[in-house]
Each structure stands twice: as structure tokens, then as C-alpha cells.
Amino acid sequence: MAIYKKLEGKPTRILEKIKESLDRLNEKIDAMIEIQKHGQRVNPEISDVLDVMTLLSLPDHLRKTAITLCKIGEATADEVAEQTKRARAVESGYLNQLVIMGYLKKERRGRKAYFYVEKET
């Protein structure tokens, strides 16, 4: 009740919160699916290199996402989906798979998740 009182009059904010939680849940499910596929957890700290030879070895659907991200530099799933003309949820799944495989990095800024290939130091 207390939470309800606190958020009273702010239905949009509640919906946004729910959407945010669902997005996070989706990402976790994607990660779990990937772990099941590989039989082990891929350490996100160990990054692999997304060079052209790696791009060649990726399955078609992931290659499209990876090349698009290479072209944009840094992007949200929405921005990648806009380029590939695929659904946002589909791109979010592929991007998270590429993160789990160690080819991409992911950073949360506020409510948005940004994906990028390793930045130059």
C-alpha cells in the first residue's frame, strides 16, 4: 500500500518500471538459454576479438547484428533493429548472445542498455 501511495498519480512511471523489469528478465532468460546451449557459463570478463575472420564464422543471424553494430559503433537494441529491419526483441536477444560469447560489451546508462565492440583505450 505504501508503494502504491508513493507512486500514486504516476501510472506511466509504473508501466515504465514494469517494462524495465521485463527487459532485464528477458536478458537473463537469453543468458540462461545460451548457458544451456554451451553447457557452461561463459565468463563475460574474458572478451574475444570480433575481427572479420570471427564475423565470417558466426551464424548468419548473429553476423548481421554484429556487422551492424560494428558500423554504428555503439547502439541500443532499438538502434540496431532500425538498421536491420528486425524486431527490437530479436536484436536484443542476438546482442545479448554476442555479449555472452564475449564479442560485445554492454553498459547500462539509466534505463537504456548500450552495446559496443571493445573501445579503443
Binding site: V49, D51, V52, M53, L55, L56, R63, C70, G73, E120
Partner: protein, 258 residues
């Protein structure tokens, strides 16, 4: 919005540099702003064509992240411009630089791909070039595949040599198809008698269209005059009425519409 065109081949010596330079010159003559980049770091050659050996920065430096692309570009409009602006980016021909470029690791190649991809914004959007032409090194190696991925259109230059044809078939199937690239074939050094009549020419095009399963954009005959010039000057600039220039002129038009 301009276009990035990469010229590539399976084997060396197919005429990528000759075609790149002359296509660039033809577009400049048509009033286009053109930027020609030497991405053959193992055997640089554009410095010899444009007689500039003392560039302050090379494309090697750009890919190394030492400088931005504007520092690399050499303005050759005064010597070679007709109506449009003409810029070239050179690869460092020093043996030490060639050795260094061939010893790069996968991480460097990944960053080089990022820098090549960003040329679309810097050269086409910001610097308003109409055409950027990549002269690449032959075969399947990092620098050429990076260039192919970064280009809008790829021209595969091939001869009628059997090993070249087979290698090109494999390369287009196993590489180009995967990257979903707009690709056209340019048959170079074709014997004049093969293209002697319209009927023979049609037969030739039909045959190689089915061999490569890609459009044959042009068949460039072998000309002794081109060999005689020995790369001492840009052929299409000097010999404006020569059949070689006319053939490349047709190719340039086809690429514009491709």
C-alpha cells in the same frame, strides 16, 4: 550520398591498381570528388603512380590510430583534377612499414575494421566525396576483407585464367555471399579476338555470368598500348579517345547505376 567502391581479386596482377586509378580519373573528369585509397599494405603502389614518396602521414598511421584521415589525404587536384577534386591516400612503401603491417594481431585488425567503417561518415558525409575507391591486396587476408566489409560495392577483377576463375568462384561464394555485398565482376586482359564480334561478346558474357553467378559489369580487352605506357602516366587522362578509356568509361557508368 556517395559510394565506397572496393576493387579486389583472388590472384595478384589482375589489374586492380590500373583499373582503380583510371576509374578514379574518369570520375574526376566527370566532375565528381574522388578519394582513392591504397589499401594494399603488402605491395603499395599508388605512391609510384602519383609520384609522392614523402607523405607526412600514411594510411598505415590512420589505421594505427595515430592521425585522422584528413592528415593522410594528398590533394592531387592540381596535377590530375579536370572538373572534380582528386585526393589520394597512400600506403607506406618502406620495407619496415610493410613488415610491421603484416605482423598485426587480431585485436589490431578489429580496430582497423572500425576505422575503415568510419570512413563512410568522414569521407562521404563530412568531406563530401562522391566516390571513395579502395585498391586492395589480393586474396583472403585481413586488410582486403576489412576493405570489402567497409565498401558499398565490390568489383572483383579477374582474368580468364583457370586458377583465377576457380579461386574467384570459391571466394565469392564463401566470402562475399556471407557479407551480403553488392558485387560485380570485371574481366580484365581479355583477348581482343574473344570480343571481336557482338555475337562472340554476348557468348562470352553469358558464359561468365553463369560461371560466377554474378553480373559481369565489363570485359576489358588486353591492350599493348596500356602495357607500353608502363604505369608512367594515368592512361585515361592522356589517351582520352583510346578504346581502353572508352571501355572504362562504360564501366564507370555501370557502377554509378549499380
Amino acid at each position: 550520398m556517395g559510394k565506397i567502391i572496393a576493387l579486389h581479386s583472388y590472384k595478384g596482377g589482375t589489374g586492380k591498381t590500373l583499373l582503380s586509378v583510371n576509374l578514379a580519373a574518369i570520375y574526376v573528369k566527370r566532375g565528381k570528388n574522388v578519394c582513392l585509397l591504397d589499401l594494399d599494405f603488402r605491395a603499395p603502389s599508388l605512391h609510384a603512380v602519383f609520384k609522392t614518396n614523402n607523405s607526412e602521414y600514411w594510411l598505415n598511421d590512420y589505421l594505427n590510430g595515430v592521425c585522422e584521415i584528413d592528415k593522410v589525404l594528398v590533394d592531387v587536384t592540381r596535377e590530375h583534377g579536370r572538373s572534380g577534386n582528386f585526393f589520394v591516400g597512400l600506403a607506406n612503401p618502406a620495407t619496415e612499414a610493410i613488415r610491421e603491417m603484416s605482423a598485426k594481431d587480431r585485436k589490431w585488425e578489429m580496430r582497423a575494421l572500425g576505422r575503415l567503417l568510419s570512413l563512410k561518415t568522414s569521407l562521404l558525409n563530412d568531406m563530401h566525396h562522391d566516390y571513395v575507391i579502395f585498391d586492395t591486396s589480393p586474396g583472403l587476408q585481413y586488410s582486403s576483407i576489412n576493405a570489402i566489409v567497409s565498401a558499398d560495392v565490390v568489383l572483383v577483377v579477374t582474368s580468364i585464367d583457370k586458377s583465377d576463375i576457380q579461386g574467384t568462384q570459391r571466394m565469392t561464394r564463401e566470402l562475399y555471399d556471407l557479407f551480403d555485398k553488392k558485387t560485380g565482376i570485371v574481366m580484365n586482359k581479355v583477348l581482343a579476338e574473344i570480343l571481336s564480334s557482338k555475337k562472340e561478346k554476348q557468348k562470352f558474357y553469358k558464359h561468365f555470368n553463369s560461371v560466377h553467378k554474378l553480373p559481369i559489369l565489363e570485359a576489358v580487352p588486353c591492350f599493348c598500348d596500356v602495357l607500353r605506357a608502363g604505369g608512367t602516366y594515368i592512361f585515361s587522362e592522356e589517351k582520352t579517345e583510346h578504346p581502353f578509356t572508352n571501355t572504362l568509361d562504360k564501366l564507370a557508368t555501370k557502377i554509378e547505376k549499380f
